[in-house]
Structure formats: structure tokens, C-alpha cells
């Protein structure tokens, strides 16, 4: 009996040990594998920085800091400056935010407070789906539908009617091209609108109903509840969502490229054609001749990267704070 047990136990134990070892090996391998994938994410990020820096090096060495402030963009004489593209990027995004933020928040308020209940879900889902529509769709709509319509009807009328007002007349001056900074900003605002509404609505829905009910119980009107309870509670989320949308607007290529006119100059009038960083790269990169031209385009790309990085990092810090707070509430 004893010998039988000893004879069978030993090989069994050997098998168990072997499979334990095998498990430990697979475990370690799997862990390193997933860790490697996580490192790859970092690697891509640093790769983007290195690639952009490397490509931009020639332009940085040639033009120095003057690259940031020069308004010349002349491929023939190989003189390049980033200011018009930076200006166009910032002004189109700012104008787009000016329109999209209030309207987006208005839509969110409408969806959470005013919309008849049966409509809430379908309209909400429709807005979320619209947030995923590729930007090229907005671009061709702007080019084929909005720009000609605007050029023939509204724009001449605006230009004529502000003709005598001192500041407005120069802000809204110029021949009615249809395309230009204004049109690009408007298309951009329509594009980021669903995004802002979707984020804002999500944040509004995290407001505890008790807070709202307490305010209603004090006799507040719907607007007072929204302004004094919902908005302050949701502020950091709304700002964070807005910054995410701004990050999108700054780097948006296709919705802008179609309708901005691609002119490297800074005009006072918002009806004048201009350019943005991403539109310049999209329009000129494949046709750029000469190392310096290509390098200058990569250099403005690097500038865009820095700007969007700052905006997106700020957005994340705000949304992180919100997440931490929401987590604190639920515990």
C-alpha cells in the first residue's frame, strides 16, 4: 500500500509542480505583454513629438523665433512665418466656441429640463450620433450649400448694411466671397455643437435630483434652478467638455479646409479668406517642394501640437476633478 502511494504521489507532484511553473510563466508573460502594450501608447506619443520636432528642425534653425511672428508665407522665396496660420486657427476656434457653447448648453438645458419626456431619449441619441459624423461631411456641405447661399443672399446684405458703422464696417468688410474665416468658424461651430451638447447633457444628468427638488421646493423657477443649482454644480464638467471641444476645433482639418480659402494673411474682416494650421498642412503638404517648405509645414504642425496639448491637458485636469468628486459622492 505504502509503496503504491509513494509511487503514484511522486510523479503527480512533479506534474503539479510543472504545471504551476507553467502557469507562473504564462502569467508573467501575459503581464509583460500587456505592460508592453501600455508602453506602446507612451511610445506613440513620444514618437509624435520626436517626429514633429525632427521634421520641424530645419525651419526652426533657419527662422528661429521669428517664425512665430512673421506673417510672410512665400514658397517661391522660401520665406515662411507661422503667424497667419496661428491667428486663423485661434480666431476660427474662438468664433466657433462663441456660437457653439451657448447654443450647446441651451440644447442640453432643453434636453434635461424642457423636452417632453418621450422625445428626450430619441433627440439625445440623435445628438450623440451626430457627434460621430465625420467632419468631411460638414466640410462639403459648407462648400457646396452654405458658401454659395451665404455669398448670394446674406453676405452682400450684411456688408451693405454695416457700411457706415465705424468698427463693424471694417470687421465685416470686403467682397462677398462666401468662403472665409466667418464661414469656416460657423461650420466649425455646427460640427462641435453635438459634442458640446452631449457632454453637457451628461454632466447635467449627474446633478442629484434632490438638489434641484430642494430649489424647486423653495419656489424657484426652472430658469433659476438651472442658473443657480444645475450650472454651478456642473461647472467644471461643462468647462472640461468645452475645452475638449476647443481641442477638437483647434485641430479640425476637413471642416475648415474646404471653406477657409487658404490665404496666408491676417485680415481685419472676418469675411476675408484666411487659413488655419491644419488647413495649410492639408492643402500644401503633398505639393510642397523643397525641404524648407516641408519643414515649415511640420513646424506649424508642432505649434498646433503644443497648443492642443495645453488645451487638452487642461480639459483633462478639470474632468478628472469632476470624476473624483462624483466618485466621492457615490461612496
Amino acid at each position: 500500500m505504502m509503496t503504491y502511494a509513494a509511487a503514484t504521489a511522486n510523479p503527480m507532484r512533479g506534474a503539479v509542480d510543472a504545471s504551476l511553473k507553467r502557469f507562473a510563466r504564462t502569467d508573467a508573460r501575459f503581464r509583460y505583454f500587456t505592460f508592453g502594450a501600455a508602453c506602446l501608447v507612451l511610445l506613440v506619443f513620444t514618437g509624435i513629438i520626436i517626429a514633429l520636432g525632427n521634421g520641424a528642425w530645419l525651419a526652426i534653425r533657419t527662422f528661429g523665433a521669428g517664425f512665430l511672428t512673421s506673417t510672410v508665407w512665400n514658397p517661391v522665396t522660401e520665406k515662411f512665418g507661422a503667424l497667419p496660420a496661428i491667428y486663423g486657427t485661434l480666431i476660427t476656434s474662438a468664433l466657433a466656441m462663441l456660437v457653439a457653447v451657448p447654443v450647446g448648453i441651451g440644447i442640453a438645458i432643453f434636453l434635461t429640463e424642457l423636452c417632453p419626456r418621450p422625445l428626450r431619449r430619441p433627440v439625445g441619441i440623435a445628438i450623440e450620433l451626430l457627434a460621430g459624423i465625420p467632419s468631411i461631411i460638414y466640410g462639403i456641405w459648407g462648400l457646396f450649400v452654405f458658401a454659395p447661399f451665404f455669398q448670394q443672399t446674406i453676405q452682400p446684405w450684411i456688408i451693405a448694411s454695416v457700411g457706415d458703422i465705424p468698427v463693424l464696417s471694417s470687421l465685416l468688410a470686403g467682397p462677398p466671397y462666401g468662403i472665409g474665416i466667418f464661414t469656416a468658424s460657423l461650420i466649425l461651430s455646427i460640427m462641435i455643437l453635438p459634442f458640446i451638447s452631449a457632454v453637457t447633457r451628461d454632466v447635467f444628468e449627474t446633478v442629484p435630483p434632490m438638489l434641484k427638488e430642494a430649489a424647486y421646493g423653495l419656489g424657484c423657477t426652472t430658469w433659476e434652478v438651472t442658473k443657480n443649482v444645475v450650472l454651478p454644480y456642473a461647472r467644471s464638467g461643462v468647462v472640461g467638455g468645452g475645452m475638449l471641444a476647443l481641442g477638437r476645433a483647434l485641430g479640425e482639418t476637413m471642416a475648415v479646409t474646404f471653406v477657409i480659402g487658404n490665404a496666408h494673411r491676417i485680415a481685419v474682416s472676418v469675411f476675408a479668406p484666411g487659413t488655419t494650421i491644419s488647413a495649410s498642412i492639408a492643402n500644401e503638404f503633398t505639393e510642397a517642394l523643397g525641404d524648407l517648405y516641408v519643414s515649415s509645414l511640420v513646424a506649424i504642425g508642432l505649434i498646433l501640437f503644443v497648443i492642443t496639448f495645453l488645451v487638452l491637458a487642461a480639459a483633462q485636469l478639470m474632468l478628472r476633478g469632476l470624476e473624483a468628486r462624483a466618485g466621492g459622492h457615490s461612496q
Binding site: T26, D27, R29, F30, R31, T34, F35, A37, A38, L40, V41, L42, V44, F45, G47, I48, A51, L52, G55, V103, G106, I107, F110, E113, I127, L129, L130, G132, I133, P134, S135, I136, I137, Y138, G139, I140, W141, L143, F144, V145, I190, L193, T221, T222, W223, G247, G251, T253, M254, T257, F258, S278, A282, T286, V298, G301, L304, F305, T308, L312
Partner: protein, 281 residues
């Protein structure tokens, strides 16, 4: 006095709520207008030859077959390459590095990549692939799209794995299951619907991307299955055709735009269905 105050508050309430309704009507009106135009113009350009003929020179009859093929090939390659990396990285974040310092950094960088301008990804791949290979290629295009797939999949995978209750992991571990087996056979399976949602969202995201393809895959007027050569894609063809002065190219651009929108919307809707399935589980 009190009555005046009451009336004033009521008026103000009405005014601002009307403003909100106006904002909603304004915003939704624009979006409806764009979709409406897209449907009308796109359907006008739809025909069976769209799927059988190549992109034509201006003035002759043609379709978008090579562009559709290119989009499908490059998106499929990007998903095949990007999805495993994304799932593994998301798994590490949720299972191993949940509280690690390094994970905070990876999460931060991933979220930046998630909304970083896609044209910069194009520039990155241009410097990395195109410059070294000396020519534009479908491989470079697929690589650019894969870079866009990864952060989407990482984010959803991590989120979905975090939703899996710890008791499941503990129960499996109590049976003596090694950790990697727990992850593969228990947590991944529990989060499967969510992970599929992430992949679908990633496909929806890349199928409309134009900017990163412009100087990686470039474009190609002909039927091409060679991954080492420039390849057409729907968005790039739409860009080229819409910017041209030719009426028949515009028609094809609208039809292509409708196809893309249809693809993206059906992916997002499918993702929602999977999401709903996850909720009921």
C-alpha cells in the same frame, strides 16, 4: 410689490427658457439641414455602378469601387493591428496597473491621443514610414489609422474592465486560477460586449478620417490591392473631387459622403446595441 417681483421672475423664466428652446431649434435645425442635403444629394448620385466602376477622369462615367476597396482594406488593417494593442494596454491599466503611478501617466497620454488632431498623426506616420520608404503606401495609411484606433480601444477596454465586479475575479482566483487565466476567461468574457462596443466606435471614428490619409496613403485612381503602393480611400477621393470644378466629380463626392455617413452611423448604432446588451447582462 411682491406681485411685481413674481411677475418679473416669471417673465425672466419664460424669456430664458424660450431662448433655450430657440437654441435647440437653431442647433438641431442646422444639423437636420446638413443631413437632409446629404440624403438628397447623396441619393441622387447613388447607382449600382458606384460599386463596380473605378474613379473616373472628369467628364466620363465612373464609380468609387477602388476608393471603397481602399477604405475597407486600410480600415481593416488598422483595426487588426490597433485592436489587440488597445485591448492589452487597457487590460494592463485596469488589471495590473490600476493604482500604479505609471498608469496615471499612460491614462493621461492616452486621453490626449484620443482627441489629438488627426492631421498630426498623419505627419508622424509620414516622417516614420513615407520618408523612409520613399513613397506613399497603403501600409502607411493603415498605420496612421491604427494610431487613431488604439486610444479609443484602450479607453473603452479599461472602462469596461473596471465595471467587472471584483467578486468575479476573487471567485476565480479562489479556485486557484492563475491571474492571466482569470483575465482571459473571466474578466474579458464579462466585459466582452463593452470591448466590442469600443472596437465598433473605433471603426466609426477611422472610417471618416481624411486628414491622416492625405499624405500617407495619398490617393490612387486605379484598382489597387498592393499594400506597398498608394491607395485610394473614400474620404481622400471626396476631398479631391469636391475641391475640383467638375460637376460629375461633385456628384460622386456627395455619393461617397453618403456612403461614409451611412457606414459611420450604422457602426455607432451597432455599438449602441452592444452597449444595451451589456446593460441587460
Amino acid at each position: 410689490m411682491n406681485r411685481a417681483l413674481y411677475m418679473r421672475r416669471r417673465r425672466r423664466n419664460r424669456f430664458f427658457l424660450a431662448l433655450c428652446i430657440a437654441a435647440a431649434a437653431f442647433g438641431i435645425g442646422w444639423l437636420a439641414l446638413i443631413l437632409g442635403t446629404l440624403l438628397v444629394q447623396g441619393f441622387a448620385g447613388l447607382s449600382p455602378t458606384l460599386f463596380t466602376l473605378m474613379t473616373p477622369p472628369p467628364g466620363s462615367n465612373g464609380g468609387l469601387a477602388n476608393a471603397i476597396l481602399g477604405s475597407v482594406i486600410m480600415s481593416a488593417l488598422a483595426v487588426v493591428v490597433g485592436t489587440p494593442i488597445g485591448i492589452f494596454a487597457g487590460t494592463w491599466l485596469a488589471e495590473y496597473g490600476r493604482h500604479a503611478r505609471f498608469a496615471v501617466l499612460v491614462r493621461f497620454v492616452n486621453d490626449i491621443l484620443l482627441s489629438a488632431p488627426s492631421i498630426l498623426v498623419g505627419l508622424f506616420i509620414y516622417e516614420l514610414f513615407v520618408l523612409h520608404m520613399g513613397h506613399f503606401s497603403a501600409i502607411a495609411g493603415a498605420a496612421a489609422l491604427a494610431v487613431l484606433v488604439i486610444p479609443v480601444v484602450v479607453r473603452t477596454t479599461e472602462n469596461m474592465l473596471l465595471l467587472v465586479p471584483n467578486t468575479l475575479r476573487e471567485a476565480a482566483a479562489a479556485l486557484g486560477t492563475p491571474r492571466s487565466f482569470v483575465i482571459r476567461t473571466v474578466t474579458w468574457r464579462a466585459a466582452r460586449a463593452g470591448i466590442v462596443t469600443g472596437v465598433l466606435l473605433a471603426i466609426a471614428r477611422i472610417s471618416g478620417e481624411t486628414a491622416p490619409l492625405l499624405f500617407t496613403a495619398l490617393n490612387n485612381q486605379f484598382w489597387n490591392t498592393d499594400l506597398n503602393a498608394p491607395m485610394a480611400s473614400l474620404p481622400a477621393v471626396i476631398f479631391q473631387f469636391a475641391m475640383s470644378p467638375y460637376e460629375d466629380w461633385h456628384r460622386l463626392a456627395w455619393a461617397g459622403a453618403l456612403l461614409i455617413t451611412f457606414a459611420v452611423l450604422s457602426m455607432s448604432i451597432l455599438a449602441r446595441i452592444f452597449e444595451a446588451k451589456r446593460m441587460t447582462q
